[in-house]
C-alpha cells in the first residue's frame, strides 16, 4: 500500500530558480557532485490509539545524487537523482465514538516500495541574468508525475539585488494498488501550475535578505485514494510568502539563518513556519550547525476528526492528520567537515508534532500525528 496522494515532483521546479546562488547569476566554475543517504524513521503509534491494523508507521531510506557542470562558456547543467525505498503502514481512517478518544484504522504492514525521481535542468547565463529550463520525472508503482519549469534570474543594482521568477507545470497520475479489492478509484489525474517570484537584496557586507511569493493552482483528483473516506475539492489554490535572512557574525565567526513562511490555501488552511539555524565555525575545517524549526497550521474547512459515513459523497470530508490543526517542532544538529574541494556531513533531526504545539489547533488531537527521526550522511566534491 503506497502512501497517500503521492509526492509530486513539480515542487522541485518551482524552486529551481532559487537553487542557483541566489544573489548572482553565474556559470558554475567547476563540476560539482554530491551524494547523500538518509534513514527516515517514523515513531510507532501508541497501541491504544489503533483500533485495527499495524502500529508501525513508515520507514524510508532516501538516496540522493546531484551533478552540476558548466557547459562551454555560457551554459550550465544540473542533474538530480533520487531513489527512495519505503515500507510501513499509514492511517486509512479514523473512528470516533462518543465519550472515547478517536482511534485509527491503520493499514497492514506493507511490502517494500520504491520511488525514483530524475530531474534535468539547463541554464543559459548572460552578463547579469540567466534563463533556465528543467524537466522532472517521478515514478512509483502506483503513481507517476512529469513536470517542467522555466526560471529566470536578473541581477541589478551593482549586483546587490536579484529578481528571480519561475513558472512550472506538472501532471500527475495515480493508479491505486489493489483498487478492485478495496473498492478504490481506479485511475485519476491532476494538474498543477505554479508561479513564483523572489527578490534577494544584499543589505550590507555581512547580511542578505530574500523575500518571495508563490501561487499554485491544482486541478483534478486531490483526494487520498487509500483512505476509507476522503472526499476533497477538485481545485486548490495555494499562496505562500517567505523570507530568508542570512547574517554573518564577526565576533563568533558564525552565521545566523532565519527563515519564515506564511502559507494559505482555499481548503481553509493557514500556516506559519519559522526555522533558524546557526552555522558555527569551530575550526577552518569543521562546522557545527544546530537548527530548530517551528510549524503551526490550522485545520482544513472540511476536516473531520472521525470519518462520517452518514454524509453523502458530495460533501467534502477528510480525517487526514495532515489537514488537522496542529503544531510541530524539529530539532536538528549537523556536523560538517570541509577540505578545499570536498566536504562530508552528518545530520540528525527529530520532529515532534502535537495539537497542543499549534497556535490554532483542532479541538481534538488527531491520533495519527507524526513523530520521526532522520539521519543523513552527505558528501560533495568539486572536480
Amino acid at each position: 500500500m503506497a502512501q497517500a496522494a503521492k509526492p509530486s515532483p513539480w515542487m522541485a521546479l518551482t524552486s529551481a530558480a532559487l537553487t542557483l546562488p541566489a544573489f548572482s547569476a553565474s556559470v558554475p566554475d567547476q563540476v560539482e557532485i554530491g551524494i547523500s543517504t538518509t534513514a527516515y524513521r517514523e515513531s510507532d503509534q501508541n497501541p491504544q490509539s489503533v483500533l485495527v491494523g499495524s502500529v508501525q508507521r513508515y520507514d524510508i531510506n532516501i538516496n540522493q545524487f546531484y551533478l552540476i557542470t558548466p557547459i562551454g562558456r555560457d551554459w550550465g547543467l544540473a542533474l538530480d537523482l533520487s531513489h527512495e525505498s519505503m515500507s510501513g503502514a499509514s492511517p486509512w481512517g479514523t473512528v470516533s465514538v462518543v465519550g472515547a478518544n478517536t482511534q485509527l484504522v491503520m493499514s497492514g504492514a506493507t511490502i517494500e516500495e520504491a520511488r525514483n525521481e530524475l530531474s534535468l535542468g539547463i541554464t543559459r547565463y548572460f552578463d547579469t541574468a540567466s534563463l533556465g529550463f528543467s524537466l522532472t520525472r517521478s515514478e512509483e508503482n502506483d503513481y507517476n508525475a512529469t513536470a517542467m519549469a522555466v526560471n529566470g534570474e536578473w541581477d541589478f543594482n551593482n549586483r546587490q539585488s536579484t529578481l528571480a521568477a519561475g513558472l512550472s507545470y506538472s501532471t500527475d497520475s495515480i493508479e491505486p494498488s489493489d483498487a478492485l479489492s478495496f473498492g478504490r478509484t481506479l485511475k485519476q489525474a491532476r494538474r498543477s501550475a505554479s508561479f513564483s517570484l523572489a527578490w534577494t537584496q544584499v543589505l550590507n557586507r555581512a547580511s542578505v535578505l530574500q523575500s518571495g511569493f508563490s501561487v499554485t493552482q491544482h486541478n483534478g483528483y486531490l483526494s487520498d485514494p487509500y483512505k476509507l473516506r476522503d472526499i476533497r475539492p477538485r481545485q486548490r489554490l495555494e499562496t505562500a510568502i517567505n523570507f530568508r535572512y542570512r547574517r554573518f557574525m564577526h565576533r563568533s565567526d558564525s552565521s545566523l539563518h532565519l527563515d519564515y513562511r506564511y502559507y494559505h490555501d482555499d481548503f481553509g488552511i493557514g500556516s506559519h513556519t519559522l526555522r533558524s539555524a546557526w552555522y558555527q565555525n569551530l575550526t577552518d575545517q569543521f562546522q557545527l550547525i544546530p537548527s530548530v524549526r517551528y510549524y503551526s497550521q490550522n485545520q482544513a474547512d472540511f476536516y473531520v476528526g472521525g470519518d462520517d459515513y452518514g454524509l453523502p459523497e458530495t460533501v467534502f470530508q477528510s480525517s487526514d492528520y495532515r489537514l488537522s490543526g496542529f503544531g510541530a517542532v524539529t530539532f536538528g544538529l549537523q556536523g560538517r567537515f570541509s577540505q578545499r574541494d570536498w566536504s562530508v556531513s552528518v545530520n540528525f533531526e527529530r520532529y515532534l508534532s502535537a495539537a497542543g504545539y499549534g497556535l490554532n489547533a483542532s479541538r481534538a488531537e488527531h491520533p495519527g500525528l507524526l513523530r520521526f527521526s532522520l539521519l543523513s550522511f552527505g558528501f560533495d566534491v568539486k572536480l
Binding site: A4, P7, G34, T200, Q201, S214, E238, Y245, T273
Partner: protein, 74 residues
Amino acid sequence: MSYLTNMTRLLLFIIMLLLFSCQTVQPWQRGLLARPEMQLEPDRLQAKLHSQVYFSNEASSGDSEVAGAGCGCN
C-alpha cells in the same frame, strides 16, 4: 484573524527597517557573502530532502528551506 494582520504588519515593518539599513557593498567587499554558510541554500540535497519530508507530512508548500525540492503529497 486580526492577530494575523498584526503579525503581517510587524513583519513588513521589520523588512522595511532592514531594507532601509542597506548599504552599498562593492564587488570586492563580497568576501563574507561568498562564504558557503552565507548562501541561501548551503546544502542542496538537504534542502530537497526537507522540502519533500515536510510536504509529505504537513499541509503547506511553497518554499521555506526549499531550493529545488521535489514532492508533494497532500
